[in-house]
Symmetry: C2
Subunit: 893 residues, 2 copies
Amino acid sequence: MPTWVYSFGEGVADGGIRLRHLLGTKGANLAEMASLGLPVPPGFTITTEVCRHYYANDHRYPLDLERQVNAALDLLSRRTGRSFGHPEKPLLVSVRSGALAAMPGMMDTVLNLGLNDVTVEALAAESGDARFALDSYRRFIQMFGDVVMGVDGQAFEEILDDLKEREGYFNDTELTAGEWRKVIAGFKELIADETGTPFPLEPLEQLWGAIGAVFGSWSNSRAVTFRKLHGISSNSGTAVNVQAMVFGNMDERSATGVAFTRNPSTGERQLYGEFLLNAQGEEVVAGLRTPQDITETARLASRSDRPSLEALMPETYREFIDYCQKLERHFKDIQDLEFTIERGKLWMLQTRSGRRTVEAALKIAVDMANEGLISREEAVERIDPSSLEQLLHPTIEADAPRDILATGLPASPGAAVGEIAFNSEQAEKARQRGIKVILVRAETSPDDVHGMHSAVGVVTARGGMTSHAAVIARGLGKPCVVGVSALKADPVAGIITVGKRELRTGDVITIDGSSGQIMAGRVPMKEPELSGPFAEIMTWADAIRRLEVRANAETPTEARIARQFGAQGIGLCRTEHMFFENSRISAVREMILAETPESRRAALEKILPMQRQDFAELFEIMEGRPVCIRLLDPPLHEFLPRTEREVAELARTAGVAPDVLRRRIANLEEYNPMLGHRGCRLAVSFPEIAEVQARAIFEATIAAAEKLGRPVVPEIMVPLVAARKELDYVKSIIARVAVEVSETAGQPVNYQVGTMIELPRAALMAEDIAQSAAFFSFGTNDLTQTTFGISRDDAASFLPTYLQKGVLARDPFVSIDRDGVGELIRIAIERGRKSRPDIGLGMCGEHGGDPASIAFCEEAGLAYVSCSPFRMPIARLAAARAVVLGKKERLSN
Amino acid sequence: MPTWVYSFGEGVADGGIRLRHLLGTKGANLAEMASLGLPVPPGFTITTEVCRHYYANDHRYPLDLERQVNAALDLLSRRTGRSFGHPEKPLLVSVRSGALAAMPGMMDTVLNLGLNDVTVEALAAESGDARFALDSYRRFIQMFGDVVMGVDGQAFEEILDDLKEREGYFNDTELTAGEWRKVIAGFKELIADETGTPFPLEPLEQLWGAIGAVFGSWSNSRAVTFRKLHGISSNSGTAVNVQAMVFGNMDERSATGVAFTRNPSTGERQLYGEFLLNAQGEEVVAGLRTPQDITETARLASRSDRPSLEALMPETYREFIDYCQKLERHFKDIQDLEFTIERGKLWMLQTRSGRRTVEAALKIAVDMANEGLISREEAVERIDPSSLEQLLHPTIEADAPRDILATGLPASPGAAVGEIAFNSEQAEKARQRGIKVILVRAETSPDDVHGMHSAVGVVTARGGMTSHAAVIARGLGKPCVVGVSALKADPVAGIITVGKRELRTGDVITIDGSSGQIMAGRVPMKEPELSGPFAEIMTWADAIRRLEVRANAETPTEARIARQFGAQGIGLCRTEHMFFENSRISAVREMILAETPESRRAALEKILPMQRQDFAELFEIMEGRPVCIRLLDPPLHEFLPRTEREVAELARTAGVAPDVLRRRIANLEEYNPMLGHRGCRLAVSFPEIAEVQARAIFEATIAAAEKLGRPVVPEIMVPLVAARKELDYVKSIIARVAVEVSETAGQPVNYQVGTMIELPRAALMAEDIAQSAAFFSFGTNDLTQTTFGISRDDAASFLPTYLQKGVLARDPFVSIDRDGVGELIRIAIERGRKSRPDIGLGMCGEHGGDPASIAFCEEAGLAYVSCSPFRMPIARLAAARAVVLGKKERLSN
């Protein structure tokens, strides 16, 4: 019979971190803390396996679970000296979810379980505070009624509010014990009325109800959405943690708090945390009361006049610091802790790796590696490459004039400009229309996660640095400012008031998540740069990675940014972008409208010197590093005018009748341009185009080599090849031009000709094509389009439905489809190497900047990936991480 | 040292039919005839290997060729008792090309070689006819000047015409010997003036010149075009046949003729041939003189008043008949013979398999199999499946009123209607505009082949049944009427005059190649049927083939034709065609414009009964044979109106503002509809569509099964699947409807769900997809589009250039691309069988009716092919032939 239940407490535990997949992270870490000898309230964990069984078997539990739970309860009774329903020493427990992946606030929790009409009196006697006991009891009934029995939580609040109104009370604390008893009776009545079932007084019945509710909440819509957004498998399931209650709200010697072992925003090595006296943990997280600092240093820094824990309870504080250090050394990562002090006794309730900003993640990883806690490889592994994106976008210019509306807590760094949106729906709709928005809320709840995804930044009027909004924003890598108390938001009217100023839905604001400032209008931003821990991690990543990283760049500006961000060459220079430039488009159009090869060549000759200049500059900036130039790819009609005015103008300058021009434009139009007359098909139809481009490349090569004083060897890439003969045809044109240019220049021209592999047939015919290709560059955008038969331009009408219905797990244009497109890449590599073992292999689709796709490239054995200049650091890190993770995987196999 | 030269003559030969690849068909058959003891003028053949060497080595001959030619000349001298330049017994030879594949008239020929100022006198003395000898000499000089030395042939004619005009002569025969000598001097002078080189008098020099010219003509543009049109490899090369001259024009006891051992038009077993007294072979072929019949039977049938060969030279005739029978028995095929009678002595000049009409081919194959000459498998192998196409198109209604303009010789059967075109250019341009034309010429030459390809039928004013036009038209399977002497064509004016009637370019005529009639206007046609030898061959093919043949059919009419032509089921029923019908399109449009699933379903419910009726009829016609129904495939915008008038009307009937409708139409438009929102993507987005279609299918199944009294098991095909989950999603809808329908009907519904494999990803993921698919049907149209990344709708702008430049050897939309698309099919079959060994496998793209693609399907091991009803017999025969050829190939390996 499998073990369904794992107990922990009193310095021992059945499980531990190795059983994380069974115990969930929370349960595993509780067991780990217990084993380390930390004061953990004893309890037990019901495994994720039970959850999977529950869903696979029509919501039935496995055999033997009941017996194991009873045994665990017996042990828990022995450890606590308490038991369910005991009239003097009642056992009270919390029942919480705990999956492998963090899903904060997504699933259900029940606290104070075990209270009933009998045990509440025992709690009153033990605590000497009847009101506290009764308040706990009514909270439990309310929570149980809501979570387990499905009664709307608001209905309970109304009963309480009615009474308060009747009595003219403002705070809960004003209620007498007798009044609490009335409230409790009202709550019970409400449950019975609403559900037809009385509130269960039997603690064991309560327990099974709560366990069922937690398992059930695994599939509530909030949790399902969260998992979808975070790519968490629906099959992993949650564990259930049943743990003896401790109370931070028993008296003024009680407290509850949360802490990070380092600063989760900056990564500074200093304890960072908050607590509330006489409170339950939920109150700290909810951000309704402003908490106190744990350390004196932090209190002084925040100029708070409320005492720190260090000052209030120095011994407990020192004990806590000791545990913090122990846990960080043990887990080798920044820890996010929850603790409760019950009448002066410290209890550790939770530890987990702390969420942090990317800046903090970088600093912590580098520091820990330098401290010798972790290796450089581990440091590299710890950084999610995608998270770097926010560092690679502009921040606010230091000396830009700022029209500051208000200042709040800097909860997640980075700056953002956007229109104000007051709810998730507004935010999402705006995003769909391509408008950037800042989500402004009083506070956020799990229901707002969707809107936070759609927004470029988040502002809340309430809450602290560990509030829901702050934690989620840091996780998403979005700028966030919280606790902006000067700000009054009226979502219904769509108005924000800050002092005398009013802002409305759609007004533009700028926020700086690093300073906490909210500014009116659009404030100028500055380019990011690599420095400090970021630069250090990059150096380490470069030492580890095998994949070269190149940039997709056409302009000198792009090429310079690429170099600055560490590009080892240009992997894709799309020459059509050069054709679109204002000064050239008229020559390009002349070329397209030409009726004979001669007039086509004449028009091309006008473009030649400009193209030559483009290429020469790129070669010079790249200083001899590889530059891979793709010959003209798009269908010619893309260059022709669309509006009547433009057509008339072109007709005039080209000396053609507008009707003739319109006919020619109509002739060039295509049903499926993606599958039309483009790529090397242009060169086969109009060899002059390839000819002139080759001439520009070779003449630029000679000029740049002379200027640089070092050889330049361009890579010329022939696009959209489906058969070797296409490549051969274009190659022969290039070779002829090379001979002509080198004869004229009196010096040899070295170059390589290769091809994009962007059609399924090219991948399949790779052995043949490789006979003629010095290199393959996988054009995964088009390869994905043709392999799936999906046009990226048209996918919006059905791909979202596919993702929503789970028909596709991921958008294949974001992360490479390993099974289909990946299979073609593997086939192409294997076959290509058959005829050319040393064939050059790279990827230049947009997937080249996606970490998961880069990991695929590492596995597949490509030589390089090429991506947009701004994604270079992401690619460099992802490439290194792929090496580290690959090594780990091989070790574990 | 390789043997470059093979001699033949006097009952022996170095080579024979087995060396056909070296000797060419002409050379090999000459050797074969010599070996059989037939009277063949002795000679020798220079191999195709020499031709290949010649082109691979910059027009140089291999070592030792000269020695071998000299040795062969020595042997030829011994065999003939004649030698080059001998003043009394001069050796005169013909030099002719002869490739493996027949390329009639495409390459150069030189006759009477060996004549010079000395030997012409010997010929005069031997023949006792100075004028004959001098005429032969001047013809030789003219031919040599033209073919070898590049002097325009017309220039020689002008010299002759000048003299005739001066002397007032009308016929060549009026020239005196002295005048011929003057003409000869003039010819020589012309050559010297034009080329700067005197006409060579030395026979050996003449011989090498002629050999070079023949090899050179292998790559003339006419030959190159012909090879491209007929798919003949450019590397195969031609042999050169050097053979002692015999003269059919020496006197009135001399003659020359051509014959087929059976009737090449009908296949009747009767000698069929023509001859001319005192003439050279070229004259018969050119069709300038109307020839005499060989047999009395034929003479009587044609009511000719000129005597037959049988009557004129009975002994020679009997000898010839004997040879004909011998050759047919030897080659086991109808023979196309050339012979010359020189002063009463019969010489066999050539034998080869005779070109024949497809009717003749069928009758001959069936007859020969019934005669025991060949097996039924050989009979099947002999018929080119594509050639059946002409039998499968309408012929003229027997009792249709015919406005007969003129009657000529029925040179190639079948009927055609088209506009008159006077030259190849007109014909080709019209074809490109989709207009059918009848090419009308005085006579045709090899330059007209291109135009004949473009025309649907051919008419010539001159020439006989073996004229160029007749032979080529039969080869192309196009209706052809020749020798329409009543017809005067004025190509320059673009007018045909027939008696008093005038027809112009673009006027419509109808021709009947079986009766020789030319009719004004469009005459009604009748449907083809399978009977006689055609039906017999089909029965044999059905017994041989392994592949099932199904039809692509949607309407009852199509389904009935399909059954009549032997369809074993419906392989593809495209349901969208049913949606386009007039009575339904408005409901379809309502469905598309619906804003909610409910209103969409309501519109679909209107279509349901019509779809049900469609399916029920198909099931009934197919009588329990498999019917594979594809769910709706095309993008929805295809169903929406395009013109403003239609939009306005739909807006009115749908009760929508025209602007709203226009916006909705614009919204549905796609950049690349081929890769857009279609196929199963529609069903995933709008499950109601699949639901209603499934309901129509199942309800029709029950109705049809009841009516037929036998089970009906529909195959439901989900299109455009890229991932198994798409199929699973649609399958679950179908399964749900099946349960509902069967519950309502109170009886079970059996069915199969499978998928099209038409995307590369589907082929690659076949193992996974096969878990959910009962069958795969390869949709090779889309698979070719996506594998190549070529839109069929847009390919016209570059595919012709590709074929012309040899970048692609074949249009992959006509004949399946074995290397790329075929590879994906092989992968899909292998992987699909891994998870479902008995998976159903078929092909339903248009390739299903292409013989080469069907051969691929046989090799790949598909269970069936599906094609248009009219191509059924082609597919049945091609499937059988693939079995026969496959068996042969395995034997030879």
